[in-house]
């Protein structure tokens, strides 16, 4: 009996020859390399050809990439702080010719006397605020490097009321408990959504001056948003309405495949 068992046991393996060792390791490693490479290529094809996201408040990006943008936003929101300020410059360094990129929603002239800023409160009440009312609030100037998502930037000089001062004056504290601010042009052709921490950043302005003069139409007369913690696409010109919400308000460029957060 014993002998039968011992026969079944494996005979001691012959040590592999050097050639066998080489080809064995080559086979394993190149096999792994080719399989892993194929998987990676397949993964890339999947991502590259993945369908566009369903149109919600954001649109125009590949669905998985939109999810990634939103996750990345969460990561970088953690480093956002009101103590992190945009660098400011002496006003002599501000550009005399302020670059003008786009005026969707702010084309043509506007009757500034007839214009009223509408602030939609949570209660449903709508405040109608004139430019003179806004100018009566404490004025803040900022000279900083305005940054466009395209990659250019320009030091420019803006003046207006701090968003936080505006909020305090109009007793909108309850509204700031919500997560987002939405702004839109009077014709609602251009609109942005801003997360509340960025809106409440001490350098966020409702600006009515550029280079110490009133805003010309192309820079958003009579009142525009200047938010240095965001790319230019969020700096809406010619504000018509301000609203507050716990959901992301519609955002023009987030519907064109850009990151909703677009924070700096």
């Amino acid at each position: 009996m014993k002998k039968i068992f011992s026969k079944k046991q494996k005979a001691p393996k012959k040590p592999l020859t050097i050639e066998q060792k080489i080809s064995r390791r080559n086979f394993l490693s190149f096999g792994t390399f080719i399989v892993a490479g194929s998987v990676a290529y397949g993964g890339w094809k999947w991502l590259y050809n993945s369908p566009e996201e369903a149109r919600t408040v954001t649109a125009g990006a590949r669905a998985p990439l939109r999810r990634a943008l939103n996750k990345t936003e969460l990561a970088f929101r953690r480093v956002f702080s009101n103590n992190n300020l945009v660098k400011t410059y002496p006003k002599e360094m501000a550009a005399k010719n302020v670059r003008h990129n786009s005026d969707i929603g702010s084309e043509g002239k506007i009757d500034i006397d007839a214009w009223k800023l509408q602030v939609k409160k949570h209660s449903g009440e709508v405040l109608q605020i004139s430019l003179d009312d806004i100018k009566a609030l404490p004025k803040t100037d900022i000279v900083y490097d305005f940054k466009c998502v395209e990659g250019w930037d320009q030091i420019s000089h803006w003046g207006g009321v701090k968003f936080i001062d505006f909020i305090n004056h109009y007793k909108l504290d309850a509204e700031t408990q919500l997560q987002y601010v939405g702004l839109a042009t009077p014709d609602e052709e251009y609109y942005v959504g801003i997360d509340m921490p960025s809106a409440m950043h001490p350098q966020t302005l409702l600006a009515y001056e550029v280079n110490e003069g009133p805003l010309p139409p192309k820079h958003g007369a009579p009142l525009r948003l200047i938010i240095p913690v965001k790319y230019g696409i969020k700096n809406l010109k010619r504000i018509g309405t301000i609203s507050f919400s716990d959901n992301r308000p519609p955002d023009y460029w987030a519907e064109q495949g850009y990151d909703y957060y677009s924070g700096l």
């Binding site: 050097i18 190149f30 490479g37 990345t72 480093v79 490097d145 460029w253 990151d259």
Partner: protein, 237 residues
């Protein structure tokens, strides 16, 4: 007699080959972004020698009007690029592999000799371990460049939150230039790297996949130094 000589550890091989496609995607998506403000050019005495990049180049690679796409890819793959890099650096430190990698005092002098040898100007290359002096410098530099890309990248990605990085990189403009220049550096590295790998041959290339090289180790006492045949030069004719 053929002998298997271990060369590259598994982690080094994986991180190398994981990095390759990630870096390719980062460079490509970076170009989609850069296109939207492609202001860099080489100008000397008022004459522009080269502008980054010519239209034919953009068109051949389908670069134009894809900024948002480029950003979406770039800001996803930056995570993988960074994590893979951190993993490699930690491994290199903890395993002690850094001893084979970091340039030594003599490396900077020796690198010239390696260069002269590779250009067939000098016959002998200095003795080396796993990497020669030029490789030590190049493969350490590429890691430093990778760290530089992450830092300059963060400096232009979040210049307000990471204002100190932007300051460290010499401001927003200079950080963007550095970020771009590093990318050009990768491309130049890639070209030289691939040429060198092709010149070094199969055994060397295989070692970055299989991990080992095959060397002929003749038992020393058998070696007979045979003088070269005197008819050598005549044969050439």
């Amino acid at each position: 007699m053929k002998v298997i000589k271990e060369k590259h550890p598994l982690v080094m091989r994986w991180t190398h080959w994981v990095n390759f496609p990630i870096l390719a995607i980062m460079i490509w998506s970076g170009m989609l972004i850069y296109w939207a403000n492609d202001e860099y050019r080489i100008t000397l005495f008022g004459h522009t020698f080269f502008s980054f990049f010519p239209d034919w180049f953009y068109n051949a690679l389908h670069i134009p009007h894809r900024l948002s796409e480029g950003m979406a890819f770039h800001f996803l793959f930056m995570w993988f690029f960074t994590l893979n890099g951190i993993f490699y650096v930690l491994y290199t430190i903890l395993s002690g592999e850094w001893r084979e990698l970091l340039p030594q005092k003599k490396s900077f002098k020796e690198a010239w000799l390696v260069l002269l040898h590779d250009l067939h100007i000098r016959k002998m290359a200095p003795p080396q371990n796993k990497y020669n002096a030029a490789q030590r410098i190049a493969y350490t530099a590429i890691i430093v460049m990778g760290i530089g890309s992450v830092i300059t990248g963060l400096a232009i990605y979040k210049p307000v939150q990471f204002y100190y990085l932007t300051w460290l990189c010499g401001g927003y403009h200079f950080a963007r230039i550095l970020h771009f220049a590093l990318t050009i550096g990768y491309v130049l590295f890639f070209v030289i790297h691939v040429v060198q790998v092709m010149l070094a041959g199969w055994n060397n290339f295989r070692s970055v996949i299989s991990g080992f090289e095959v060397v002929n180790e003749a038992p020393k006492h058998i070696i007979d130094i045979t003088p070269p045949p005197p008819s050598d030069e005549k044969n050439i004719q």
